[in-house]
């Protein structure tokens, strides 16, 4: 099976999370890549027109988080990716959770901005994603999170 037949859903909220996903784009472009974000206008600026839109949310917005989880499930069911990865934040985590329901392999890459401790979603991903990576070597644990370099 060729690389371009592996369907990958890559998810990032607007801002720094999205910047980091774009830095990984040269590698992601080898696969059947689909993107989802909370700021589709920024994705369009980067030449990604068919991006899936997710409502932004965080732990202080329970209703919006529930809505985001439903949209994330819809996006995952629509694309049926083999692999789901996110550079953050909560909407990406919901896509990873939804991915577990359809048997996708899931990867959380914690933001390079988290140099002191893992984000909350990062901590949850240690349990709920297949892999949880930090971008800071000193934050890597014996088991999780693991460290395999950084976007910078």
């Amino acid at each position: 099976m060729g690389k371009d037949s592996i369907r990958v859903l890559a998810v990032a909220s607007g801002g720094g999370h999205w910047e980091q996903l774009m830095l990984l784009r040269p590698t992601l472009a080898q696969y059947d890549i689909r993107f989802a974000t909370t700021e589709p206008a920024v994705a369009a600026q980067h030449g990604i027109a068919d991006v899936e839109s997710l409502p932004d949310c965080n732990q202080n917005m329970p209703v919006r988080s529930a809505l985001c989880a439903l949209v994330a499930l819809w996006v995952v069911l629509k694309h049926r990716p083999k692999v789901i990865l996110s550079t953050g934040a909560a909407p990406g985590f919901f896509c990873i959770l939804a991915g577990r329901l359809i048997g996708a392999r899931t990867l959380w890459i914690d933001s390079v901005a988290n140099g002191e401790e893992l984000s909350m979603c990062g901590k949850l991903s240690k349990r709920f994603a297949h892999q949880c990576w930090t971008q800071w070597e000193h934050l890597a644990g014996p088991d999780r999170p693991r460290y395999f370099g950084a976007v910078l």
């Binding site: 600026q45 692999v83 392999r105 002191e116 976007v151 910078l152």
Partner: protein, 160 residues
């Protein structure tokens, strides 16, 4: 053109004033996004806020970015393949809540396209180094190469 940014959240007059003093000697236009600072620049174009789309366009034209050590700015510069010179905010001068920007520059110094000025006295020589950088954007840092390789391995379900 050189673009200076301290983000939109907090002022950083120490960097803005130092860049204003250097601006006449740099031989090219300097545009600054000053955030909530109180210093009024005289020698460079200064704006409190620059909208993201315009900032992106300016970044595209810039030869060098001079900024506080905010990770968002570092990432944007990396995506636009622009060299960036970072000067960290200091908590003891009331420039931030804590010294995480000092930690950030400590960890990022030496990666391709990233230069560090510990304080304003180091700006001038570091700017000259930044403007002299050529072809670095083709060199992905060793840590970035490692991450790209691991990501490909994960996606293809190969051993990490």
């Amino acid at each position: 053109m050189i673009i200076v940014t301290v983000g939109m959240q907090l002022g950083f007059d120490r960097l803005i004033a130092a860049m204003d003093a250097l601006a006449p000697s740099l031989g090219m236009p300097v545009i600054a996004q000053t955030g909530k600072g109180s210093y009024q620049p005289r020698n460079m174009e200064a704006r409190v806020k620059i909208a993201p789309a315009e900032f992106e366009a300016l970044m595209g034209e810039a030869r060098l970015v001079v900024a506080h050590a905010g990770i968002g700015t570092v990432l944007t510069a990396a995506r636009c393949a622009k060299p960036i010179l970072l000067m960290p905010r200091r908590a003891d001068l009331g420039e931030h809540r804590n010294d995480h920007q000092l930690a950030t520059v400590g960890k990022l110094a030496g990666r391709p396209g990233i230069l560090v000025a510990a304080d304003e006295s180091e700006l001038e020589p570091r700017i000259a180094e930044g403007l002299a950088l050529t072809d670095w954007s083709a060199t992905r840092s060793p840590t970035a190469q490692q991450l790209h390789a691991a990501l490909a391995a994960f996606i293809e379900n190969r051993p990490l």
